[in-house]
């Protein structure tokens, strides 16, 4: 679709989205820790999304929820995490910490462990927002690494300066 005015192509998960192409949500396969000395979990999940917007406010964030089986075989949440998609074009690696909501009392902790119903967010997108977090207690456990290749269109034409391509790769 050709546009007469320059437009900005962004990746958006929450915010001011005008249009979106590609899958905005996805579920990966189930992976187990590798048998070798590295003990890593690999998903290798492809992401290919294109969005369009007119304002960088509400820049896209990718929200991850990690689930896994507990001792009794129930699927419980193992971590939530979110990171902004980088906006300078190029290749970027991001390693984000994952956290899990914590029960308030010890009895509730034991009950949720026993019943297999751990505290979780009803909408994982709250992880991408800053409001309402001050009353939650979480435990941080684990990290997830993401790799982004970002292409933008017409940001410079609209007057935006994104700076140099990000060269800080987190070596993890």
């Amino acid at each position: 679709m050709t546009a007469a005015n320059p437009s900005v192509f962004l990746l958006m998960v929450n915010g001011q989205v005008e249009s979106a192409q590609g899958l905005e949500e996805g579920i990966s396969q189930i992976t187990s820790k590798s048998q070798d000395v590295r003990q890593v979990l690999v998903w290798n999940f492809p992401i290919d999304v294109t969005f369009k917007s007119t304002n960088p406010y509400g820049w896209p964030q990718i929200v991850l929820s990690v689930y896994g089986p507990d001792v009794f075989g129930n699927d419980v949440v193992r971590g939530y995490g979110a990171v902004h998609v980088p906006f300078s074009p190029g290749r970027h690696k991001r390693t984000i910490a994952m956290f899990v909501p914590e029960s308030t009392s010890k009895l509730q902790k034991f009950t949720s462990w026993f019943m297999g119903r751990r505290p979780e967010y009803t909408d994982p997108k709250v992880v991408a927002q800053g409001e309402g977090r001050e009353v939650t207690r979480v435990r941080s456990q684990g990290f997830v690494t993401l790799l982004f290749n970002v292409v933008t269109k017409d940001m410079r034409k609209l007057g935006y300066d994104t700076g140099p391509a990000d060269t800080q790769d987190i070596p993890r």
Partner: protein, 175 residues
């Protein structure tokens, strides 16, 4: 008017002696700056790290400023507090850092400090908790009237902020 987008997150804190930490943050700007969208202040969740000593908050920051001048460039000020299992909060450190002025992604390490009281107050803090706090938060990010303070170092807060500038070259400003 030139515009500045500050997009990023408060990643977490390390080096504090307490383990369940949360952070109250705010952005202070000069008179020439106007906040167009975003929350100017907030509070993160309380995190208890299971692996290592770094508490992770991953608190998103998304702000859109319009400015007529460079004076009063935004400063991000932080108060790190610890919460124990009974829900009592104790101050762990104050810190501030200027929002970076060049566009791109920046990793910031913000050191923190906390006020020390008399030796009586320090002893009480070790046993009972509490301790002196600042009455006015603007001492954290302003240099006035600091000479009376006696402080000790706290841990470090790690942030990742990305700056997106608009129309700065129109006014001849080099960033």
């Amino acid at each position: 008017m030139a515009e500045v987008h500050v997009i990023g997150q408060i990643i977490g804190a390390t080096g504090f002696s307490e383990s369940s930490l949360f952070c109250k943050w705010g952005i202070h700007t000069g008179a020439a700056w106007k906040l167009l969208s975003g929350m100017r202040e907030g509070q993160t969740q309380v995190d208890t790290p299971q692996v290592g000593d770094m508490a992770y908050w991953c608190h998103p920051i998304d702000l859109h400023f319009a400015t007529k001048g460079l004076q009063g460039w935004p400063r991000l000020h932080l108060q790190v507090w610890s919460q124990d299992s009974f829900g009592r909060c104790q101050l762990a450190g104050y810190g501030f850092c200027h929002v970076p002025s060049s566009p791109g992604t920046h990793q910031l390490d913000c050191p923190t400090w906390r006020p020390l009281g008399s030796w009586r107050e320090q002893l009480a803090r070790a046993f009972v908790g509490g301790g002196p706090q600042l009455l006015q938060a603007d001492t954290i990010y302003s240099g006035a009237d600091r000479y009376r303070l006696h402080t000790a170092a706290g841990g470090t807060v790690r942030l990742e902020l990305s700056l997106l500038l608009r129309h700065f070259d129109r006014y001849g400003v080099e960033c």
